[in-house]
């Protein structure tokens, strides 16, 4: 079981949750209040929903051997466009109007993904550079849409997406479950996952077996942008406002971290959807811990960094080997171990 590649991410998540339980006794309790589920665990899922979505997109891009730095910007643009359209409508509460706004925002997100994908797959620009363009320019676009202001909306149907309930559950959680399920089916019930892993694992070999890697790569970036777009809707819906400047700020880093903590190597190739979701939950749990434990705001960043570092260390086979070996008798003078070439990904979880 220790060999399973989700073992250590799950251990980290459970440890974090238990830690919270010790500090906050009521942490695990979930209650029903006026037909809705409440509790810290539900909160983690609810507030973690956008991150989970973005991380799902990110992991498919990373699997192709790329990376997408523009997810935060896409979050801002999508939220800005939806709020702009709704705020412009005479009846903000109209379901049709909201659907129209949502559809347009998602179409725009897909177009942004297409842009990223084309830069990478057709022009051969390094993914980090290609998506950096949109990362920087995207916030400008978002502010252009909102004319540099924060647009607030008052639309019950829109509020549902990120802040409402359906069948007793937060709607955002339902959206995440649906998206995750569709993704899992698409990736593992078709050959999509295998082909993406092949492209990320060895691009030249993939070309020589006849894989059309360009369209796969473009699809991955579009999917990632779509996920970011949905996340952008959730975030702006939750606060009933679009903030082009701050919405989704630094989320690309959290998403990348979630992917890596979930056991997917940044080099590309093999990837794990379940691991990524767990990785996102770990990060969200850390954030929740910070608030529930009342960590003073000036210590938040350091606290988060320390926890993330610990999580990464637990998962590093090299680190575990060292700690483990120390407790056993060791052979005579052992010079500093050199990492074998095949083992260079520090965060790789042994398969």
């Amino acid at each position: 079981m220790i060999k399973h590649r989700l073992f250590w991410p799950v251990v980290a998540l459970v440890a974090l949750l238990l830690g919270n339980r010790i500090v906050t006794p009521g942490f695990f309790s979930v209650e029903v209040k006026s037909g809705h589920l409440y509790g810290s665990l539900i909160d983690i899922l609810l507030f973690g929903a956008p991150l989970i979505l973005i991380a799902l997109g990110m992991v498919t891009v990373i699997a192709t051997g790329g990376i997408d730095l523009s997810v935060g910007a896409t979050v801002a643009i999508s939220g800005a466009l939806a709020c702009y359209i709704i705020s412009d409508q005479a009846n903000q509460g109209s379901v049709g109007g909201v659907l129209f706004a949502v559809a347009l925002a998602l179409v725009l997100s897909l177009a942004l993904g297409l842009w990223n994908g084309m830069l990478v797959a057709w022009l051969g620009i390094q993914p980090i550079i290609a998506t950096l363009i949109l990362m920087v320019a995207g916030r400008g676009v978002a502010q252009l849409i909102t004319s540099g202001k924060i647009i607030t909306v008052n639309s019950p149907p829109y509020k549902l997406i990120g802040g409402g309930y359906w069948l007793g559950l937060p709607f955002a959680i339902i959206v995440v479950v649906v998206v995750a399920a569709i993704t899992a089916v698409l990736v593992r019930r078709t050959a999509l996952g295998l082909l993406i892993e092949a492209v990320g694992g060895n691009a030249e070999a993939s070309r020589l077996v006849g894989i059309r890697s360009r369209s796969l790569i473009i699809m991955a970036y579009m999917f990632c942008a779509l996920c970011s777009g949905i996340a952008g809707l959730m975030i702006s819906s939750n606060i009933a406002a679009a903030d082009g400047n701050n919405a989704g700020l630094w989320m690309e880093l959290d998403a990348i971290l979630a992917v890596v903590i979930g056991g997917t190597s940044l080099i590309g190739g093999r990837f794990s959807l379940a691991g990524t979701i767990i990785g996102a939950l770990i990060i969200q749990t850390i954030s929740t811990t910070i608030y529930t434990a009342g960590v003073p705001s000036y210590r938040v960043l350091v606290f988060k960094a320390v926890v993330v570092a610990l999580v990464c260390l637990i998962q590093s086979p090299a680190f575990r080997a060292k700690v483990f070996r120390r407790r056993h008798k060791r052979p005579p003078p052992q010079p500093k171990a050199e990492v074998p070439a095949s083992d260079s990904g520090d965060l790789e979880v042994s398969a």
Partner: protein
């Protein structure tokens, strides 16, 4: 007997599910060339990696000049006087040739390094530019550069894991000359090769491994080919000799499967003509860098051609990409398995299915894959036989078999094999040659490229001779000998068909 410079005692090493080495001992004397022999997956590379500290042994000791040592990694091994060329060339393709030769060797004066590199390369008669990136050269040249690097580190122990797998006679002869000189200087050389002739030619003693266990240590002079094969395989191998000659079934001469007219690419290969019929095995013979691979790549659309016309089954086609070639029933197994073939992260089964799956597109997942994969794993005797094993962990020869399976499973009309037996042991080599012959008997066309002329001659109906990136002759394989081919390459002999390299 002189005391051994290097001794390994009771080495064991297990990987999840595999005992790669089980209580293996090994001695290397100063001034000897010692061949380490065994079938694919016997544990040769693992023993070498334990020696150089890439892997930590589960048990056992290493003694250098009588003193126990713990070698923590390749760099330390080098400092301890053990210089190694690993089986899979692991230099940096984006660094220059000179940089690759000198990097990681303490302080280097880069200005002089280039001149020194050029000097070293000429010692091997290697006419390449030390300033160009290594990746610009073929895998064989890269292998030579790795050897040049290893030889130049004045070491007490030189370890060469299949250094000759993609070299042709001249390079091998040159390498052996250098090895003999080093041997005279007292360097101990550990050498792995699947070419028995080379082992008998150069080695003084032989250690044989089988399934991770030591079979024995022998004086080369006391061994025959048959006894050595017997030690390696544990069975008497008569199968090797009975390989039937080509041409039992005459190829179907009606409609060529593939016809190339004036196909060429600037800087790659001069325009050439070629026809391959169904049931025919066509061999490409030529020295290193003669353009064999370049020609094959044009026929597969791996590189675009800038002249000429290709037709498949009589219909003109343009192959813009490998995908297009595969749709037309052409398959290409490239020579460099690490960079162009295997996806090391994926499992054996996934690697085998990859070409078939790519052809079907991503929507329709190949569902009956398990059976197919298992059948080919058994047919090619891939070890471990577990389809879920990570491909990158397989031994070199077994990785090669995985790639063969990948293409055989697609049932191509034309199968292009570029050095398919590279790094494959004697028994499996014979099996692959047999397989090629039987594929042709079934009506498939095969294009077979190998640096080993005997192998090309054993199975081809006709042989295309290449030199200096030109196809210079087509020889029917009737009483053809390696000498005749070499003479043709040297410019002395004439083919049955006149030289057609005039296109330039």
């Amino acid at each position: 007997m002189t005391p051994p410079i290097l001794e390994m005692r009771g080495i064991s090493k297990a990987f999840p599910g595999v005992r790669a080495l089980d209580d293996v001992s090994f001695r290397l004397l100063p001034g000897e060339v010692h061949a380490l022999m065994g079938e694919n997956g016997a544990g040769k590379s693992t023993l070498i990696k334990v020696l150089t500290g890439v892997y930590t042994a589960d048990a056992g000791d290493v003694l250098l000049a009588g003193n126990p040592v713990v070698i923590g990694g390749p760099h330390q091994a080098q400092e301890a006087g053990i210089s190694t060329v690993y089986q899979e060339v692991n230099l940096c393709p984006n660094l220059s040739v000179a940089e690759n030769i000198f990097i990681g060797r303490g302080k280097v004066r880069w200005k002089q390094a280039r001149a020194r590199a050029a000097e070293l390369l000429t010692r091997f008669d290697l006419d390449i530019d030390p300033a160009l990136p290594l990746g610009a050269y073929s895998i064989a040249i890269q292998q030579l550069v790795a050897i040049v690097r290893a030889v130049d580190i004045s070491a007490k122990v030189l370890v060469l894991d299949e250094p000759t797998s993609s070299l042709d006679r001249d390079e091998v002869a040159r390498l052996f000359a250098v090895m003999r000189r080093l041997r005279e200087d007292g360097v101990a050389i550990l050498f792995v090769s699947h070419f028995l002739e080379q082992v008998f030619d150069i080695s003084d003693r032989v250690t044989v491994l089988r399934n991770g266990r030591l079979v024995g240590e022998y004086e080369t002079g006391a061994l025959t080919r048959a006894t050595l094969i017997g030690h390696m395989t544990g069975r008497v191998l008569e199968a090797l000799e009975e390989l039937h000659a080509p041409g039992e079934h005459a190829p179907d001469s009606a409609q060529p499967v593939l016809r190339a007219e004036g196909i060429g690419r600037k800087g790659g290969i001069a325009p050439f003509d070629l026809t391959i019929h169904s049931g025919e095995v066509v061999g490409f013979a030529g020295l290193l860098g003669s353009g064999r691979t370049e020609a094959a790549r044009l026929l597969f659309g791996a590189d675009g051609s800038d002249s000429g016309q290709l037709s498949i089954d009589g219909k003109p086609v343009t192959l813009k990409s490998p995908g297009a070639a595969i749709e037309h029933g052409v398959a290409f197994c490239p020579e460099n398995r690490k960079t162009e073939g295997l996806v090391e992260d994926l499992t054996v089964g996934e690697n085998i299915m990859l070409a078939l799956q790519a052809a079907r597109g991503w929507v329709r997942q190949v569902t009956d894959s398990d059976d197919l994969v298992r059948r080919w794993i058994t047919a090619l005797r891939i070890t471990p036989s577990d389809p879920d094993a990570i491909a990158g962990n397989l031994s070199g020869g077994n990785q090669q078999k995985v790639l063969l399976a990948r293409w055989l499973i697609t049932q191509p009309k034309l199968l292009i094999l570029d050095e398919p037996t590279r790094g494959i042991d004697v028994g499996a080599k014979a099996e692959i040659q047999k397989l090629v012959v039987s594929l042709a008997d079934e009506g498939k066309a095969v294009l077979f490229i190998s640096a080993e002329l005997e192998e090309v001659l054993r199975i081809s109906h006709k042989v295309e001779v290449l030199r200096d990136r030109q196809m210079i002759a087509e020889l029917a394989n009737e009483g053809l000998t390696p000498e005749r081919i070499l003479a043709t390459i040297a410019g002395g002999g004439t083919g049955t068909v006149a030289a057609e390299g005039a296109a330039q």
